[in-house]
């Protein structure tokens, strides 16, 4: 069977929607029959099992993607007990053909024959994967969702109904109706009723459509919004004025919720960008803010942390998540030691000469970049994202937050708290503050100032390393990673007020939120420019930043 070309298939779907309205019933009946055949029918179980399944499976290796879609439908309809397992395996990329055209399904213990489930002896080298493309994957997911309707767990059934909602064709509606009869779980019933109401929006009688709109009240998903807004106005608006008005009212209500959640979303985006900025800048707040050293190699210390995460994952290839967690302390040590070395080797000789420090550390940043290029190659390295960091937290249909961003905010807060405690509650912190406030007096009190300097620089650098681990999850790990963040880091520290941790926190967050608020209006490029202009103007007015340091230290600098 040759599949239809895509144009006609699109046509089909459109036509089919209209048929629900009972307008073009006669015209597209043959097409509809074909659609039924293609999409799979109501209950999979009536056709004579076996034969159809076998022929479809046998023709898989040579089929084109178009034919494969039809074959998948045939397999789904065959009612063969192994049909679901086969389609699932296919979707997961575990279906193979050997040289003779026999199909094998990769199971846990090895390769099995999909029809009988009996294991076979085949070499992995001889196998060619039965590929899928986007269209086919979508089709397979729809078919599997209809299987999953019969799943024993309620949550799986809810997922199945949601999946089917994306593409509500006649077979899906029929399957949902059939399921509704025997469904016992209230949540699933509710979900099915909503899906059916969505289909009812296309019903023949205006009263039915009105009822459907009423029952969909409160559902703010994209599918509902799209259907309703199409009914409310435009080329395909509903013929009945009353229905149109009801649809319009519903659309308005959804839209007001949408803009509310959009505001919340923008705010969250801003906070998460802000935390990234704070993370990148907080190490600098120590070295530049507290010690007054302009460290242009700060970005490269971040980069070292990111590469540490990469190396840790190389060392523990089977425990990606664990490797990432372990790389937090390891990166602190690596970057911290690098920082101590920089302080002892270079910065120590240049105290009180900011210009020379700037040039020396800038040169050092180039050296570190080229070092990484030579050791790890100039190509970006791939740091894997563990499962618990990917995906998003879905609050409702309109608001979801990606996990990684939530973790970054949390991580930033923890790092900030730890650093604050270190500076304010430990003896090292006391010494650091003493030295930064009045070096000579501190020396007189018996503090080994040069040792404290090294420790402070090491602490700031170590924090930069930790930031690098976090950034490895957000951006590219490559030789240029540091350069991308050095300007932003200085911006945050200067804006927040040199020498003030709280200033860095508030400053970074404020810049992040401002950037994200501007972005929808003026675009990403312009938003960045405007933020820079704002900072320049701000620094003109308040030379000391948001939270200027008070007292003798400020004058002493």
């Amino acid at each position: 069977m040759k599949g239809p070309d895509v144009e006609t298939n699109m046509q089909l779907r459109r036509n089919q929607q209209r048929r629900y309205r009972g307008r073009f019933a006669l015209l597209c009946r043959p097409l509809l029959l074909f659609m039924l055949w293609l999409g799979g029918a109501v209950a999979w179980a009536q056709a004579p099992a076996g034969n159809e399944f076998d022929t479809a499976v046998a023709s898989l290796p040579t089929a084109s993607y178009m034919d494969k879609e039809a074959l998948a439908g045939q397999i789904a309809r065959s009612g063969h007990p192994q049909a679901q397992a086969l389609l699932q395996g296919w979707l997961d990329g575990k279906l193979y053909a050997d040289a003779s055209g026999h199909i094998w399904l990769e199971g846990e213990g090895g390769y099995v024959d999909p029809a009988s489930g009996s294991a076979g002896k085949v070499e992995a080298d001889d196998l060619e994967k039965i590929g899928t493309n986007n269209r086919l994957r979508k089709g397979l997911k729809g078919m599997l969702a209809q299987f999953a309707l019969a799943s024993p767990t309620a949550s799986a059934r809810i997922r199945a109904v949601r999946e089917m909602r994306r593409e509500l064709d006649e077979s899906a509606v029929a399957a949902l109706q059939a399921r509704l009869q025997q469904e016992t779980d209230a949540a699933v019933t509710n979900e099915i009723e909503l899906a059916l109401a969505l289909a009812e929006l296309q019903a023949g009688e205006p009263s039915q459509r009105l009822a459907a709109i009423a029952s969909l009240d409160g559902d703010r998903s994209a599918e509902v919004y799209n259907s309703l807004s199409q009914m409310a106005s435009g080329d395909e608006a509903d013929a009945d004025a009353q229905v149109r008005a009801a649809a319009l009212a519903a659309v308005r209500s959804i839209e007001s919720w949408r803009s509310f959640y959009q505001g919340v979303e923008t705010l969250l985006f801003g906070l998460s960008l802000g935390s990234v900025l704070v993370l990148a800048a907080i190490g600098l707040a120590i070295t530049f803010g507290v010690m007054g050293v302009i460290n242009m190699a700060h970005g490269e210390l971040i980069m070292l942390g990111a590469y540490t995460a990469y190396v840790m994952q190389l060392l523990l290839p089977n425990h990606i998540g664990l490797a990432l967690l372990l790389s937090i302390p390891v990166a602190f040590i690596v970057s911290g030691l690098a920082g101590v070395a920089i302080e002892r080797g270079i910065v120590r000789h240049l105290y009180g000469r900011p210009l020379e420090t700037l040039l020396a550390t800038f040169g050092l940043s180039l050296v570190l970049q080229q070092l990484v290029r030579s050791v790890f190659s100039p190509l970006n390295r791939s740091v894997q994202t563990p499962g618990f960091l990917s995906g998003s937290l879905q609050f409702n249909d309109l608001l979801s937050v990606t996990w990684i961003r939530l973790y970054i905010v949390l991580f930033m807060l923890i790092v900030f708290a730890a650093l604050w405690l270190t500076l304010n509650k430990t003896s090292l912190g006391l010494k650091v503050r003493a030295v930064s406030q009045n070096r000579r007096m501190a020396t007189a009190m018996g503090i080994a100032t040069s040792r404290v300097d090294a420790m402070t620089f090491g602490l700031g650098s170590g924090i930069a390393g930790i930031a690098g681990v976090a950034l490895s999850q957000l951006t590219n790990v490559g030789p240029n990673l540091g350069q991308a963040y050095i300007i932003d880091s200085f911006m945050v520290v200067v804006f927040g007020g040199v020498g003030n941790l709280w200033g860095t926190l508030i400053g970074g967050m404020a810049l992040g939120v401002t950037n994200k608020l501007l972005e929808p209006w003026v675009g990403a490029v312009m938003a960045k420019i405007l933020v820079l202009v704002f900072i320049i103007l701000f620094i003109q007015r308040r030379k000391q930043g948001l939270f200027p340091q008070k007292g003798r230290a400020a004058e002493g600098h």
Partner: protein, 423 residues
């Protein structure tokens, strides 16, 4: 430092080997080996070195050995011009293979035209140029962008378009052409969203959220991405995190190839598309042989091969053929000889050099697989002829390039005038 040492050593190695022959032909290699673009360009430098080694094994060109002169313009655009001058004037090379970004090409153009040099440029670019001294072996927009959009429109039924790009000349010009093309096909302005981001952009949350919103109006939406290089990684990651799958909103990229994918976690990218004139996964004998030679040369059995590398191979082979035909390395004679020459490309077709200094190329659309390779889902029937000046931009509609009949790179067919400038 170590890298540079190896490079110099490699160059010296080739040089000393070549010195045994009495007379050599010098081949300049002008690719960044450090800085931002090193990531992409180092590979092309190695490709040229491999081609030279292979050619010398076959006895060189016209009985003379080839000698590589490698310089490092360090991703620094003015330095490109300086190094080009050095290659042409001081080293007196006979041909140069080089450049990646359009801005580096624009920077060396005057140098090549002043000194009558010969440059083979192997990367897909925005078009709107045809220089007497440059041969463009990568795709022009009508060999990549336009066919890709056609595929999305006809085969996937896409009705709404997001044109997302990095903010510089290639994406801006390409998107201008695409916008004009889409409008000529009846797409309404409100169904096109254009978005630019800075180089190396890493915070994609709000842009991806915008795309999601733009794409959730019931009409099929696709993203046409001219996002450059490594900004792609966080972009695709964010798409994955916000649960935008390739089934709902496919992204077709013009700058993401095998080499770029090798550096990232491909899981969130599976199913998204890329349009190129070559894919490593295309199953032909020539392709397999070339990949094997490459992996042997670079001594890494899993190194990838990509589109600009194929373009380098084609350009090199065409140049060798032209030199042999012209029986000299003189730039003007080689430039005349090369037009109309054909060499097989790696995907089973032929690449022919056209009078406008562009090539005929097949166009492929591939879906990203989990192993970082592509599944070919669509291809043009035969090759598409490269068009230097886009037919969809008001400024360049009437402009033509023909170095045989018109002897001009920008001949205006309306005013019947050659604008005089060489590019």
């Amino acid at each position: 430092m170590k890298l540079k040492f190896i490079l110099t050593a490699a160059a010296l190695g080739v040089a000393s080997f070549a010195a045994q022959a009495a007379d050599t032909i010098k081949v300049g290699v002008l690719h960044s080996l450090s800085g931002t673009m090193a990531i992409s360009e180092t590979t092309l430098k190695d490709t040229v070195l491999m081609l030279i080694e292979e050619q010398n094994k076959k006895g060189g060109v016209m009985g003379k050995k080839l000698e590589a002169v490698v310089v490092d313009p360090a991703s620094n655009w003015p330095l490109f011009a300086e190094k080009a001058e050095q290659l042409l004037v001081k080293d007196k090379v006979d041909v140069v293979f080089g450049c990646w970004t359009s801005v580096s090409r624009k920077s060396v153009l005057p140098v090549f035209e002043k000194n009558n040099g010969l440059l083979f440029y192997p990367v897909q670019y925005e078009g709107e140029e045809s220089s007497k001294n440059v041969f463009y072996t990568g795709a022009s927009p009508n060999q990549q962008a336009i066919p890709a959009v056609d595929y999305l429109m006809k085969d996937l039924g896409v009705k709404r378009w997001v044109l997302a790009g990095t903010d510089y000349v290639y994406p801006r010009t390409t998107n201008k052409i695409l916008e004009a093309y889409l409008k000529s096909k009846g797409v309404k302005p409100e169904d096109i969203m254009i978005n630019y981001t800075p180089f190396g952009h890493s915070d994609w949350q709000s842009i991806v959220a915008d795309i999601k919103k733009f794409g959730s109006t019931g009409k099929k939406t696709a993203v046409v991405s001219t996002i450059n290089g490594d900004a792609n990684v966080p972009f695709y990651k964010e798409l994955g995190n916000q649960k935008i799958s390739a089934e709902d909103i496919p992204v077709v990229a013009f700058s993401v190839g095998e080499e770029e994918l090798a550096g990232l976690d491909t899981k969130p990218l599976v199913g998204h598309l890329a349009a190129w004139n070559y894919f490593q996964s295309i199953n032909t004998k020539a392709n397999k042989a070339e990949i094997a030679t490459w992996q042997k040369f670079i001594k890494k059995p899993d190194r990838t091969f990509n589109d600009p590398m194929e373009a380098t191979v084609i350009g090199f082979n065409l140049w060798v053929k032209a030199v042999e035909k012209a029986k000299t390395t003189d730039v003007s004679k080689v430039s005349d000889a090369i037009i109309g020459l054909e060499v097989p490309n790696l995907t089973g077709g032929t690449a022919k050099m056209l009078p406008n200094h562009h090539l005929t190329k097949p166009v492929y659309i591939g879906e990203i697989r989990e192993d970082g390779q592509f599944d070919i889902v669509w291809q043009t029937k035969g090759e598409v002829a490269g068009d230097a000046w886009s037919d969809y931009l008001p400024g360049s509609k009437d402009v033509e390039a023909d170095w045989v009949k018109l002897k001009c790179g920008n001949y205006n067919t309306k005013t019947k005038k050659c604008s005089g400038q060489n590019y």
